[in-house]
C-alpha cells in the first residue's frame, strides 16, 4: 500500500478514513487528531501545566510522549495499586519512560497511603478489585492534581475505550453516566478538570504511535481485567468496524453531538461538598474513599480480635 499523502510505502492502513500512511504522515495525522481534540473541546492552553495519569500502558505513555514532545508543560502521575508483579513492572516502565524523557513523575503508593494493597482493600470491603481500583485512582488523582495545582488531568482514554463505555452505558441505561460521558469533565467544587485528548484515535492507532516512536510500554494486562465485559464490548465493536469502517467514531461522536445534551438536561450533576474527614469533594458528608478505608480498617480490627480470642481459648 502507498501513503495517501506522499506516495511512499505505507506502514498503516486506516479503513475508517479510506487511507494509508507512511510513518511521517501517520505521525502528522496523529498530531492533527490530538490538536483538534484539544482545541475544539478547549481542553487546556499551551502554557497550562497538565498532569498525565500514566499506567505504563500504550495509551497513557503515547499521550505523555506526544504532549511532552509538543512542548506542553506536564507532570506524570503513577498510582502504585500494589497488584503484585503487574504493579512492579508497570511502575518500572513509567519511571524508565520519565527518566529517558527527562520528565517529572509523581508516584502515589496505595499501600503507603492506606496500609493495604488494592486487592486487600477490595477483599476487606467485599467489593471487586476493579471497583476499588477506580475509586482509589479517582481519589488520589484529584488529590495530587489539587496539590500540584495543575490546570487539568489528562488521561489516555481512546476511541475504543469511549465507544465501549458508551455501549455498556446504553445496554444498562446508566442515565447518570450517559449524562456525564464527555472528553472534558469540567472543574467543579474541588474537582480538577479532566480531559481525554486521544478520544478520537483508536487503540490500534495509539499502539502504532508507540511502535513507531519506540516507546517501551507495558503489554501485559492487569490480572484482574481478564474476561472483563468491557473487553468483550471492544471486540464486538471491532467486528462491526471491520464490516462498516467508521462505526465506532459515528457511534461516539453522534452520541456527543445529538444524544448527550438530552441526558445532561435530564440528569444534572450532583451537588458537591467537602468530605468531613479529608476535605476532598464528595456528594455525601463523608466521601466514598474515607468510608471504604474505615470499612477496611474495621474489617481488619474484627479479624484481629477474632484471632486473639481464638488464641486465648
Amino acid at each position: 500500500m502507498k501513503c495517501r499523502r506522499c506516495g511512499e510505502v505505507a506502514v498503516i492502513d486506516l479503513p475508517r478514513h479510506n487511507a494509508a500512511f507512511c510513518k511521517p504522515c501517520f505521525l502528522e495525522y496523529f498530531a492533527r487528531q490530538v490538536q483538534q481534540a484539544i482545541s475544539k473541546f478547549r481542553m487546556f492552553a499551551r502554557h497550562h501545566r497538565v498532569m498525565v495519569a500514566v499506567s505504563g500502558g500504550k495509551d497513557s505513555l503515547a499521550l505523555w510522549h506526544w504532549l511532552a514532545s509538543h512542548g506542553q508543560p506536564t507532570v506524570g502521575l503513577y498510582i502504585d495499586l500494589g497488584i503484585a508483579e503487574y504493579s512492579r513492572v508497570s511502575r518500572e516502565r513509567c519511571e524508565a519512560f520519565a527518566q529517558r524523557m527527562g520528565l517529572q513523575l509523581e508516584v502515589v503508593d496505595v499501600r503507603q497511603e492506606t496500609g493495604f494493597s488494592t486487592p486487600a482493600l477490595a477483599a476487606r470491603v467485599r467489593r471487586t478489585t476493579c471497583s476499588v481500583c477506580g475509586l482509589v485512582k479517582r481519589y488520589f488523582t484529584n488529590r495530587t492534581a489539587r496539590r500540584l495545582q495543575v490546570a487539568a488531568v489528562a488521561t489516555g482514554h481512546n476511541l475504543d475505550d469511549e465507544a465501549s463505555t458508551l455501549l455498556g452505558n446504553v445496554l444498562h441505561w446508566q442515565m447518570g453516566y450517559l449524562a456525564r460521558q464527555h472528553p472534558v469533565l469540567p472543574a467543579a467544587d474541588g474537582l480538577v478538570r479532566r480531559v481525554k485528548p486521544l478520544f478520537t484515535l483508536t487503540e490500534r492507532e495509539t499502539l502504532a504511535y508507540c511502535l513507531l516512536q519506540g516507546i517501551d510500554f507495558l503489554e501485559e494486562e492487569c490480572p484482574h481485567a481478564r474476561g472483563a465485559t468491557s473487553i468483550l464490548y471492544k471486540e464486538l465493536l471491532n467486528r462491526l468496524e471491520l464490516i462498516s469502517p467508521g462505526t465506532k467514531h459515528q457511534f461516539l461522536l453522534g452520541f456527543l453531538r445529538r444524544a448527550r445534551p438530552s441526558f445532561s438536561q435530564a440528569e444534572p450533576p450532583p451537588e458537591l461538598g467537602a468530605c468531613r474527614e479529608c476535605g476532598e469533594p464528595s456528594t455525601a458528608e463523608v466521601c466514598a474513599y474515607c468510608r471504604m478505608l474505615s470499612g477496611a480498617r474495621r474489617a481488619d480490627d474484627a479479624f484481629a480480635t477474632k484471632e486473639n480470642k481464638g488464641g486465648i481459648t
Binding site: M1, A10, V11, I12, D13, A20, G57, K58, D59, T128, T129, C130, S131, G134, D160, D161, G168, T202, E203, R204, T206, L207, A208, L211, L212, E219, E220, E221, C222, H224, A225, R226, G227, A228, T229, S230, I231, K234, E235, N238, R239, E241, L242
Partner: protein, 68 residues
C-alpha cells in the same frame, strides 16, 4: 515463518509462507482492527507479502478491561 503473539498469550507459532498479512491474520483468526503485525521493527499493512524466513510479531491493540 515464525509468528510470535505478544502480550498475554506469548505464543510462538510456525506458519507456512508465502502469504500476505491479511491471509496470515485470517489463518490465525485475528482481526485486523485489533492487531498490528511487525517485521524487523517495521509495522506492516495487510497487503505485505510474507515469506518462510520471516519473523513476525503480532501486537494486540485491545487493552484496559474493567470488571463491573
Amino acid at each position: 515463518m515464525q509468528v510470535r503473539l505478544r502480550g498475554g498469550r506469548q505464543e510462538v507459532i510456525q506458519v507456512r509462507g508465502p502469504l500476505t498479512v491479511r491471509q496470515l491474520a485470517k489463518q490465525l483468526d485475528l482481526d485486523l482492527e485489533s492487531h498490528l503485525f511487525v517485521r524487523e521493527g517495521r509495522v506492516l499493512t495487510p497487503d505485505v507479502r510474507l515469506g518462510d524466513d520471516d519473523q513476525i510479531e503480532v501486537y494486540r491493540a485491545i487493552s484496559g478491561g474493567t470488571r463491573r
